[in-house]
């Protein structure tokens, strides 16, 4: 069955979209939520497990205090109220990636609730209201064996690695976001980008969407335009890049409208996003109408953060995003438009780190929003995932400033970085990209060019300095572009004066 998709602009003629975003953030604590196992990414399978996170009979959980602190800091940064008293509950359901067959999670008593995050889209500010931020634990990682695609359907059997089981997660849930109209996809993306910036500024997670340390579920519903009600929503799971968030919202808006305008009903269901096609497909229907049989986790005691603790944590918060943007704009001397573009691309922290590594702000902006943005777009990934670090960008810019490479050669240096050929300096050396400013070699090339173009040389001698361009071109060609054009010009004028 193929979906009927209504063009985006037409959707808005008849419907108002409502968004809801659920973002899971994996904390960067040294140990898991309920045991002392390490949380390092990429360790060999089942090497970071203990009786507790493996769900062995008799083992018991103990809450990681640092994780609670991180959860509260996230809550405070999102302008939430911090609970005076809250508990963990058991969410009971069977799944082989869950060692106890229940997930220890917060249910009706989240650690933080009722907050907001302001996000900017094209100079317009939207206030996204936060319903709750709660603590829970991650599941193990399953690999499906057999079947054509490595996907779950058609697999012969599956292999489970529990290293990830028990890693602390914070789930941040928005209230329904309405009134965004045509900007719904952008607001969704901007919210996730802003949340990501905030998480990074708090230093509580590396928030890498491609590694799954930040995961996003997108809820969307449409209501008849102007009706003010909420329609039936779908939940699109695991939308794992900023770009995909925008695309998923756009796709679901078109699909919902197609269903509704065709006289159908939107099914309340879970859907999956496909990066390759930008489309969603329905998940498998659950046989047992989700009855998670929540009850308070009897092996853990309540959390009752003192107000002193909460206030002490408040003093550790990074500056609020709006203030930060204002400060950075002043520091960097960016125009409003430049600032907006940088923020919308999720590049503020990247630029900040690049500047901190020694690059001039405009140069940092230029690289991230041109060369690297192009690369991200080609790969269909976020800027953070292009495979180049802010420190490397600053290093490339240093080579430009020193005259070692020009902008054109710098792009070749980036290509070397994408290919993992080493540091920028190493790439320049290995690829022989350095601009030649050695006067001996240049001088010989200039002499050769003069000898080969006597007419042009005469014109210059007659004072027609503009004609030097032709000779410069000849020299650059001879030097395969690796000459400092300014120095070539100087030499030509010197020799012909």
């Amino acid at each position: 069955m193929t979906d009927t998709l209504i063009p985006f602009d037409d959707v808005l003629k008849d419907f108002d979209p409502a968004l809801g975003l659920e973002v899971h953030v994996e904390l960067n604590t040294a140990t898991k939520m309920f045991c002392g196992c390490p949380t390092e990414f990429g360790a060999e399978p089942n090497s970071q497990v203990c009786p507790t996170c493996l769900g062995l009979p008799g083992a018991m959980p103990v809450v990681n205090g640092k994780a609670v602190e991180s959860a509260m800091r996230i809550g405070l940064a999102l302008n939430c109220t911090i609970a005076e008293w809250c508990r963990f509950a058991r969410k009971n359901y069977f799944y082989p990636d869950m060692p106890k067959n229940f997930q220890t999670s917060q249910y009706d008593e989240p650690i933080a609730f009722e907050g907001y995050l302001d996000v900017d889209v094209d100079g317009e500010t939207f206030r996204v209201e936060i319903e709750r931020a709660h603590m829970e634990e991650d599941t193990g990682k399953t690999t499906h064996i057999g079947g054509a695609t490595g996907r779950i359907h058609g697999a012969d059997h599956s292999l489970v690695d529990y290293n990830r089981a028990g890693i602390p997660l914070i789930e941040i849930v928005t209230k329904p976001i309405t009134g965004t109209g045509a900007k719904a996809p952008l607001v969704a993306k901007a919210y996730v980008a802003a949340l990501r910036e905030l998480i990074l500024a708090l230093g509580v997670s590396d928030a890498r969407m491609e590694q799954g340390s930040m995961r996003c579920d997108v809820n969307l519903s449409l209501a008849p335009a102007g009706s003010g009600v909420l329609g039936t929503r779908t939940e699109t799971k695991n939308v794992n890049s900023l770009r995909s968030v925008e695309r998923a919202v756009r796709f679901e808006m078109g699909r919902h409208a197609g269903v509704l305008l065709g006289g159908g009903k939107v099914l309340q269901e879970t859907r999956h996003f496909h990066e390759d096609t930008g489309s969603t497909s329905p998940g498998r229907e659950k046989s047992d109408a989700e009855d998670y049989r929540y009850f308070p986790e009897p092996d853990l005691v309540p959390i009752a953060p003192s107000r002193e603790w909460v206030e002490q944590l408040r003093t550790t918060l990074p500056e609020p995003p709006a203030e930060r943007r204002a400060r950075l704009q002043a520091d960097w001397g960016f125009s409003d438009l430049e600032m907006r573009d940088a923020a919308a691309s999720g590049a503020l922290s990247l630029i900040e780190e690049t500047v901190a590594a020694g690059a001039p702000p405009q140069a940092a902006r230029k690289w991230w929003l041109s060369e690297l943005a192009r690369r991200a777009n080609d790969l269909g990934v976020d800027l953070t995932d292009v495979g180049v670090t802010p420190a490397q960008v600053a290093e490339v810019q240093k080579l430009v400033d020193a005259g070692t490479v020009n902008d054109k050669l710098a792009r070749q240096v980036f290509e070397g970085l994408y290919a993992g050929e080493g540091s920028p300096a190493e790439i320049v050396a290995a690829r022989g990209l350095a601009v030649v400013s050695d006067d001996g070699a240049l001088s010989a090339a200039v002499d050769a060019a003069i000898a080969a173009n006597p007419d042009v040389a005469d014109k210059i001698r007659d004072g027609k300095v503009a004609a030097a361009g032709a000779l410069i071109g000849a020299v650059m060609k001879e030097m395969r572009g690796q000459a400092d054009a300014g120095r070539v010009r100087e030499l030509i004028l010197e020799k012909l004066s």
């Binding site: 604590t29 040294a30 140990t31 045991c35 002392g36 196992c37 390490p38 060999e44 399978p45 089942n46 090497s47 970071q48 497990v49 203990c50 009786p51 493996l54 103990v62 809450v63 990681n64 205090g65 640092k66 994780a67 008293w85 508990r87 069977f94 799944y95 082989p96 990636d97 869950m98 599941t139 399953t142 690999t143 064996i145 779950i152 697999a155 012969d156 059997h157 599956s158 292999l159 489970v160 690695d161 529990y162 799971k237 695991n238 879970t270 999956h272 998940g283 498998r284 659950k286 046989s287 047992d288 009855d291 009850f295 308070p296 009897p298 853990l300 005691v301 309540p302 959390i303 953060p305």
Partner: protein
């Protein structure tokens, strides 16, 4: 006092992942009703003014420092596994969605 029907027992067994056969269902359903009847007496005993007790002792804020403790070795972790492949627990094909 609602009676648990045989179908309801079958649904509960499904939720609890126990493959009860017909004979077991026939045997269990009436027993469960006898038990439920005997516990039904508590309904309405405590009103809204009575707070629930989930922990017998009023402890709060028991936390652990974020310090790594020794893990099991993969050999220990996998020692009791019914099936192992590539240092992972091998499980039969999974119905349902990726979580």
């Amino acid at each position: 006092m609602p009676e648990i029907t045989r179908d309801e027992v079958a649904h509960l067994a499904d939720l609890a992942r126990i493959d009860l056969d017909d004979a077991e269902l026939d045997h269990l359903a009436p027993q469960l009703n006898v038990i439920l009847e005997s516990v039904a007496s508590i309904q309405g005993v405590a009103g809204d003014d009575v707070p629930p007790t989930s922990h017998p002792l009023p402890l709060t804020n028991v936390f652990r420092d974020d310090v790594v403790r020794p893990c099991l070795t993969p050999e220990q972790a996998l020692a009791a596994a019914p099936e192992v492949e590539e240092q992972r627990f091998s499980v039969p094909r999974i119905l349902g969605d990726e979580q």
